[in-house]
Subunit: 305 residues, 2 copies
C-alpha cells in the first residue's frame, strides 16, 4: 500500500525565494490527503505533477497565514475546473468563516460541498477513520490553537500462503477467517495452525505531522514509535530563546523529540528565512538523531522505506 | 522620471505552471505602487528582485481570488519584516473585512497602519494625487464590482536653459516663475520671452490598468490617448461567447479598445489557462493594433518608451 509524502513547501512565515511555506501531499493507497495549504500550493502541485483534483481530504494545522493562505485559491480552482465531489477539511473552527467570507464577496457558489470537521486544540481525537488509515489530531503548543496530525495505517489482515491453501484444498470460503487469524479445522478433524497457513501482515506504519509548536512533551506518548516524524525545526539551537518566544522548535529539539518517541525517521521542515542553506539544521539534528532528512520542496518520502 | 511597470503575474483564475495570476509592480519616480496582488505575488517579487518593503500603495481591482489572494500573506510578511510605515490600499470596501478577519484569527496586530480607500465601481474618481501622479479609478463591467486604475503623470514644470540664464545673469530667485512659464523682465526693461529661456517639459504620460471586464465603451473617454494601455485579454476571439458570459474580453477586443482610445501601446494580460503559449493572442491583437505586447512574468515596460 502506497504511503508517501511529497513536500510542497518547507519555509516558515516570511517567504524566501524557492522555498514555499508549509504544504504536503500525502498519498495513502492512491488517495490524496493535503496537509496544510500555504500560499502557492497550487503552483507547487503543478510543478511536481500532483493533480489537485485528486485531493480528498485537507488538513489545516492552524490559522497562521503560512499554513492556509493557499486554500481559498485552491478551492476556487477546483470549482472552476468542474469538481462536484465533496471535500472534507479538518481545521480550526474559524476557517469556515474565513472561506465563506471570501466566497461571498467573490460571489462564488461552489459546485461541490465542503464538509468541515473542527479540530480540537486541547485533546487528541480520532478525526478520520477509513479503509486505509486512522487520523488523529495532535494538540500542539503554539501562539494560537494548533494541531498536528497523526496518520496511522490500519492493521492489515494476515497474508494467505496461497500455495499451501491449494495444496491442502482449503475452500475459499474459509479465507476470510484465515486472514483474520483463525486456525483451520479440516473435515477429518486435523487442525492447521493459522501461522502455518498465513504470514504476518506488514506492520502498520504511521506518519506524524508536527506543525508549529514550542518544544513540549505533551504529545510524546501519542506519537510513540511513529515511523516517520515530520517536525518543525524553525531555528538552529543557538536561537533557542527566539524559538521559545515565538513558540517554535530548534533542529536539536526536533531531533530530541524523534529520539524520545522512538521514531524510525525524522523529517525537518518549517525553516526560517534566515537560513539560506539548510545543512547546518540537518547536521545539528543528526548529532542527536542520525536518521534525519530535510523536507525539501518536491522531494517524496516513502513512509517506512 | 521613472515610469515603469513590471509584470508579476499574467494568468487568469485557474493556475497554470509558470504563469501567476494578476499582479504588477509600478515604479513611479522610484516610488512603488502594487497593482493587484494575486496568490504568489511575494514569491514573484523575490524572483524579480523587487523589494516588497518599498511598496507605498496597493490597488486591488476586485475581489476575485486571482486578484487579491496574495495580499494577506504580503501584509503579514511586511509586519514580520518590521515595517512601521503606513500603507494605503485602494480596494472594494469589503476587502478590509476580509483582511481583518484573517488577522484576527492569526492573532496578528500589525505594527503599521493600513489606510483603506474604498473604490467606487460606478463612477470614475480621483483616488490619489501626490507629487508625481494623479490616480483615477476606472469603472469596469465585470461579474462583480471591479475597477481599473489610471495613473497620469502630473504636468511637469518647464525646463530651464541654464546656460542662457547664466549668460543673461538672471537671478536664481526668478527661476521658479520661469519654470511656471512666466516671461522675465530685466532691470533695463527688456522682456525675455519664457520660450527663449526654457524648454517644454516632457509630455505627461499615463498608464491605464484595465482589469477584468467585458468589452464596453464606458471607459473609453476616460482613458483617451493613454500612453500604455494594459487590458485583459482572457480569450481568443473565437471564444467570444465564453468571454461575454464570463464578463471578459478577447485579444481582438482589447486591441479594438486600444485603437478606439488612441493608446500609444497595448499590453495584453490575464490569459486563460487554456492557452499554453500566447503567440496566437498577440497575433490576433496585432491585426487590429500593431503596437501590442504580452504581459509576460518578469518583463518590465517603460511607459512611453
Amino acid at each position: 500500500m502506497k504511503f508517501e509524502v511529497t513536500i510542497l513547501g518547507s519555509s516558515s512565515a516570511t517567504p524566501i525565494f524557492n522555498r514555499n511555506p508549509t504544504s504536503q501531499a500525502l498519498n495513502i493507497n492512491e488517495h490524496l490527503y493535503l496537509i496544510d495549504c500555504a500560499e502557492g500550493t497550487q503552483q507547487q502541485m503543478l510543478r511536481f505533477g500532483i493533480k489537485s483534483s485528486r485531493i480528498e481530504y485537507i488538513f489545516i494545522s492552524h490559522l497562521h497565514g503560512d499554513h492556509y493562505l493557499g486554500l481559498v485559491g485552491l478551492l476556487s480552482s477546483l470549482h472552476l475546473n468542474g469538481r462536484t465531489k465533496s471535500i472534507t477539511i479538518f481545521a480550526p473552527a474559524p476557517l469556515k468563516e474565513i472561506v465563506n467570507l471570501q466566497l461571498k464577496y467573490s460571489e462564488t457558489v461552489l459546485q461541490y460541498q465542503i464538509d468541515y470537521v473542527d479540530t480540537n486544540p486541547h485533546t487528541a481525537e480520532i478525526i478520520l477513520s477509513n479503509q486505509d488509515v486512522i487520523v488523529e489530531s495532535i494538540p500542539l503548543d503554539h501562539r494560537i490553537d494548533c494541531t498536528g496530525f497523526l496518520f496511522k495505517q490500519k492493521k492489515r489482515n494476515r497474508k494467505l500462503i496461497k500455495e499451501k491453501l491449494e495444496e491442502l484444498n482449503i475452500p475459499a470460503e474459509y479465507y476470510t477467517a484465515l486472514k483474520k487469524g483463525n486456525d483451520y479445522t479440516a473435515n477429518d478433524g486435523t487442525v492447521y495452525k493459522n501461522s502455518t497457513l498465513t504470514l504476518d501482515p506488514e506492520e502498520p506504519k504511521s506518519y506524524a505531522f508536527c506543525s508549529d509548536t514550542i518544544y513540549t512533551e505533551k504529545y510524546f506518548e501519542q506519537i510513540k514509535n511513529v515511523t516517520l516524524l515530520y517536525h518543525e525545526a524553525t531555528f538552529l539551537h543557538d536561537m533557542l530563546e527566539r524559538a521559545k518566544s515565538t513558540y517554535h522548535t530548534t533542529a536539536l529539539q526536533a531531533a530530541t523529540v524523534a529520539c524520545a518517541v522512538g521514531a524510525k525517521e525524522l523529517l525537518l521542515g518549517h525553516f526560517s528565512a534566515r537560513y539560506k542553506t539548510l545543512n547546518e539544521l540537518l547536521d545539528e539534528a543528526k548529532t542527536v538523531f542520525p536518521n534525519t532528512e530535510l523536507a525539501i520542496e518536491g522531494k517524496a518520502f516513502i513512509i517506512g522505506d
